[in-house]
């Protein structure tokens, strides 16, 4: 197996970090929905914290994407 084939396989494996992001964001959405259902008047603050949380959780998945792009473009 030459280097570029291994690089492509590595790029595919690198994108597995998306699993963590999917799980984390799903959990966060569940908790946010529960909190809004309990107290609808606080929904503004809950939405703010929720959006920030999903953007931060997305970042780790993006690191995997960047590694994959670096591997594919070499």
């Amino acid at each position: 197996m030459d280097a570029s084939a291994a690089a492509f396989i590595g790029a595919g494996i690198a994108v597995f970090t998306g699993i963590g992001a999917g799980l984390g964001i799903g959990l966060a959405t569940g908790k946010a929905s529960e909190a809004i259902a309990r107290q609808p008047e606080a929904s503004g603050k809950i939405q703010g914290a929720f959006l920030l949380g999903i953007a931060l959780a997305e970042a780790t998945a993006i690191y995997g994407l960047v590694v994959a792009l670096m591997l594919v473009s070499k």
Partner: protein, 247 residues
Amino acid sequence: MSAASEGAMSIGEKINEGIAIKTVFTINAFGLSIPISDTVIMSWVVMAGLFIFAWFATRRLKEVPRGFQSLLEGFYDFANKFLEENIGHHGKDFVPFLGSVFLFLCTANLLPIFTPVAGFGFEPLFELKPLTRDINVTAAFAIVTMIVVVFSSIRYKGVGGFVKSFAKPLPFMVPFNALEYVVKPLSLTLRLFGNILGAFIIMKLIEAIVPVGVPPILSLYFDLFDGLIQAVVFTFLSTVYIAEAIE
């Protein structure tokens, strides 16, 4: 994908050419030759646009605001309140910097929506691509933010206070706190770069496969929503880092 093999270039090559950053011209000055890429020119366009907007919007300000001026005052008030709530009573000092970062990132991420497309016999003369897909641009923003954090920490706590803050809350945290000053700009850079570049590649893929009808709907999520959220998150995280550094 038989359509790909019939075209002049495969989809992979089209995408590689689409995301490449080309050097447009080179400035030869003082014995150095500085390559100017198209993202630099786009950032000049965004800067010029923001200057012109600011000049026209603040030309004839009245004591009692009417119309557009009251909108601007509402935004400025919101920025003041938001920063004061998050940073504390020094929040007002950071409104110019963080407000400019937010405006620049919003404009830079939303400007590519106006790229002209081919149709009705025209070929597009130019194509607007998001300027934050270049890691140099996002790294510049992150480094400037970290410089602001370090300098504001020194200004409000003194050099001794800044050095002592590495040992909080316990002395063995010194290497971890030092590592934070490397990890924070790195994560700011990669988050913005990866999100915008990823959205751009996905939109190119969608346009290559289904050119009609589907791209505008998905572009609402990928270009608009993603671009705005990344600008908000970058600014909010910068606010939180400054608040931590000032305490």
